[in-house]
């Protein structure tokens, strides 16, 4: 299946684009999706952490990703100021 991934902040800078298309065999859960991503973009390993959002909700490691899902990488958030 073809996945389209939205990228923000430092993840966008690591990948070099605000959107990434990835061909991925089904089924895939969040944990193995992150492993694929980290092999391709080793700098993701250097982040404090990052989460995956599916359809605008934070996803658990064992959650399955389906074709057509809105996937986003959520590096450490830093809203507000101070």
């Amino acid at each position: 299946m073809k996945l389209e991934i939205l990228l923000f902040g430092i993840a966008r800078e690591i990948v070099g684009s605000s959107k990434l298309q990835l061909e991925q065999e089904e089924p895939v859960d969040v944990k193995s999706f992150k492993q694929v991503l980290q092999r391709r973009y080793p700098k993701m390993n250097h982040l404090s952490y990052y989460k995956v959002a599916i359809n605008q909700e934070f996803a658990e490691d064992d959650q399955l990703i389906k074709e057509g899902d809105e996937i986003a990488l959520i590096p450490p958030v830093s809203g507000g100021a101070f």
């Binding site: 959002a53 605008q56 909700e57 959520i74 809203g79 507000g80 100021a81």
Partner: protein
């Protein structure tokens, strides 16, 4: 104007306070987060904020709903600015009105603490000699 908002425009605290005013509420607590002029002794030139806008709005709405649940009768507004900000400018304004003052303090603190944990908004600090995504690296 919406109670929960992400905007590129200057935040107006008075307008946001007006959104939560109600005759049955006796206390309003306001939190205003502003751009600091330095981090660890280094001069900050500007900050750049970006949001995953639909999810950020959804997470901000969750916080507002949690506040209304935990502090019944409370009234809350959360506005977050994004884009390029200069030192001294307001980044976030949270206003919470409750029947009595103690709840207003508690609810406002809960809202800003939770926002910093859950809302997908990112900040880049720009210095004279470089830039850094805040909290990205250990």
């Amino acid at each position: 104007m919406s109670l929960i908002k992400i905007t590129d425009a200057t935040l107006n605290a008075n307008e946001i306070i007006a959104q939560v005013l109600r005759d049955d509420l006796g206390g309003i607590d306001i939190f205003i987060g502003t751009v600091r002029n330095q981090t660890k002794g280094k001069k900050v030139v500007r900050l750049e904020y970006e949001a995953y806008r639909p999810m950020a709005l959804s997470e901000m709405n969750k916080i507002a709903n949690q506040v209304r649940e935990k502090w019944p009768q409370s009234s809350i507004a959360i506005h977050h600015r994004i884009g390029i900000l200069n030192t001294g400018e307001a980044v976030v304004v949270i206003a919470v009105a409750t029947p009595h003052r103690q709840q207003a303090f508690e609810a406002c603190k809960y809202a800003i603490d939770t926002l910093k944990e859950t809302v997908p908004i990112w900040k880049k600090e720009v210095f004279d000699d470089g830039e850094v995504w805040v909290a990205a690296h250990p």
